[in-house]
Symmetry: C4
Subunit: 210 residues, 4 copies
């Protein structure tokens, strides 16, 4: 709140104040941990007096269970990318903190997006919302990497290939989610893009190396 | 609980016992992280079998979505002000711990205040409640800064302008929320005060500097 | 789970294995932070199209709002007592970990106990449940202090009066909650015991000192 | 997400990149802390205008209260096993992070599994689901121990018996939960396996030692 005064912002732009990365990383971890745990909070309970009916009820809620598992993997993936990057980051700027909050907003929205995609009707619009949240999260993540690189916020012993690898990895995933959006207007199998595109791109990369 | 005995309080007043700041900061971060994540917990799900109806349903819940985004920015702002201050704090007194708990109470109330302001009817009263929570949170924050300054709880290398800048920033935001209260009785655009007042005050400050 | 084998327990009893206190303290903080934030999760929303009806609706839910505030103060008190003690603790035994989990169980139950006491009907039984949770939490806390003292788990520079002061403080609060139980069968003012008894005991202590 | 490219995976397989264990342990603690606290979130409130009816209502919800307490002990047990192991772990591999996420998925599912087992009807199927979650969690835990041992991720001063003891402890608990599954088709006393089997196995172990 108190940093909303433009006078300060201008001062900060010319010479960025630096903060220890630790507390921001900790705060991010806490938010992501809560978001990933809340995913399971409103899973529909299977109901029925007998085993057959219980299994039937499980089947009725199949899409909710599957979208829960997908979202768990997706948030887990976001966290692991963040973890791999911030392993090498010791200081943060105000700009990086602001980007982190946009990234966190996407994580916080995830349990909601998961419920949206798990409901029935108008599949393509639900799917687009979910995919856009991922594209935004990963685009912001790319901006975070760029800030870290530009302001030299990384440790001296950071492997030089870290940035190239991170941009490539995020780029492939952004492409996967972006391509899935038009596909969703034709088939509910649009999910498959999220797995097939990274897989094929990895294979291509390996061939080129050989 | 156990510190409710007045005998102890008197002893503490004459010669403040000091605690490492780390655990209090950590606890505060955890509480704020949970509060900010819970904001999204009860976002209304858009419903409808077709895209048109889904968009229509999104429109119906517009005020809930907007108040969620505002509250995310507001809690984020509180956290960043706290982060910028406690970067320089290494030890805390019992008094500062007590103030922190009042500040945390305001953060914990935020998801509730967000639901209150997102509902229909009696706009001015809902708005006042929300704005008062912010004014209390920032006034308590000013008291925290004052405690830190008075008891010399800050690091030796703290920039001397930190306190002046923090008081000024918090003062502007308190004014913005306080002024918005009477405005809310005339127009639902009272929200604009929260952005316009800090902006104008920042511009004025810059002119005076030049 | 894996420590349920009695063979290990026997071995542990003769020569306690020690663990760094840090991770247990961190885990406890996270649990308490979540419990204190969840208190506000299901606060009833005031409803009504006009200001008068909104205030009326607030009045109808008065007992829920008051019990939320009391519970916030109560959990805050538990945390502060824990904080003041563990400031001096560096290592923990298996026994202390087990006691901590019973203490945490009481904190985890708090949002539930708060809802129980905030509902209407059969006041004395609701009150007894709430008070018993506090008595158990503080009795377990006393056992934790005793374990720390007995196994010398505290830092070398711990002030010698720490243990006496902690026992006395916890003892007064246990008495306050215990005495309030029979009182609740006569009057809903039984809450007052929680404030009056510590206050009077503090005054008596001060007189004796003079 | 970004690590989904197979090219990277192959590189990682030949020469595992190592990460500091601290942040993963912290993240795990946060997730487990939230899961254990959420257990109590939807405990049914006892209702009734008089003490008798309140007690009656408590009795009606008995199975929910008992399954809450069991789950609290079960998650607590998982955490303590994790704590005892990671006390000696300083670095983690990508593989260990992935296993940890599967383990965390089981913890995140626990509040859901607790609600499933607390409902009425088709007891054996509800019980099987709950027991399978435990068996998976502990099997993944065994794989984690094996990774730590194989990649020498432990501290130099780790007691040599740690791995044997952890495998034995986890093995006994896996057996207890696995055996309880067929038993559940005959009697609701299948719960007893979870306590009796570890107890008997502990006694047998002690006899053999003597």
């Amino acid at each position: 709140m108190t940093d909303a005064t433009p006078g300060e912002d201008t001062a900060a732009a010319s010479e960025e104040r630096l903060f220890a990365a630790e507390r921001l990383v900790f705060f991010s971890d806490a938010v992501v941990a809560i978001a990933i745990t809340l995913l399971a909070l409103e899973l529909p309970l299977p109901e029925g007096p007998s085993g057959t009916e219980l299994l039937h009820s499980l089947g009725d809620h199949k899409s909710e269970y599957i979208s829960f598992l997908i979202s768990f993997a997706v948030i887990g993936g976001h966290w692991r990318a963040h973890h791999r990057l911030f392993e090498h980051v010791t200081r943060v700027t105000s700009g990086l903190i602001r980007l982190t909050f946009v990234w966190l907003l996407m994580q916080v929205i995830m349990p909601f997006a998961t419920k949206v995609i798990g409901e029935d009707g108008a599949f393509e619009f639900r799917f687009v919302f979910y995919a856009v949240v991922q594209v935004v999260a990963m685009t912001v993540f790319v901006l975070m990497v760029w800030q870290i690189q530009r302001h030299h916020l990384y440790r001296a012993d950071t492997p030089p290939e870290l940035f190239g690898r991170t941009y490539r990895g995020a780029g492939v995933m952004i492409a996967a989610f972006a391509v899935s959006i038009p596909v969703a207007f034709f088939t509910t199998w649009a999910y498959a893009c999220w797995i097939v595109i990274p897989l094929v791109s990895g294979l291509l990369l390996r061939f080129r190396k050989d």
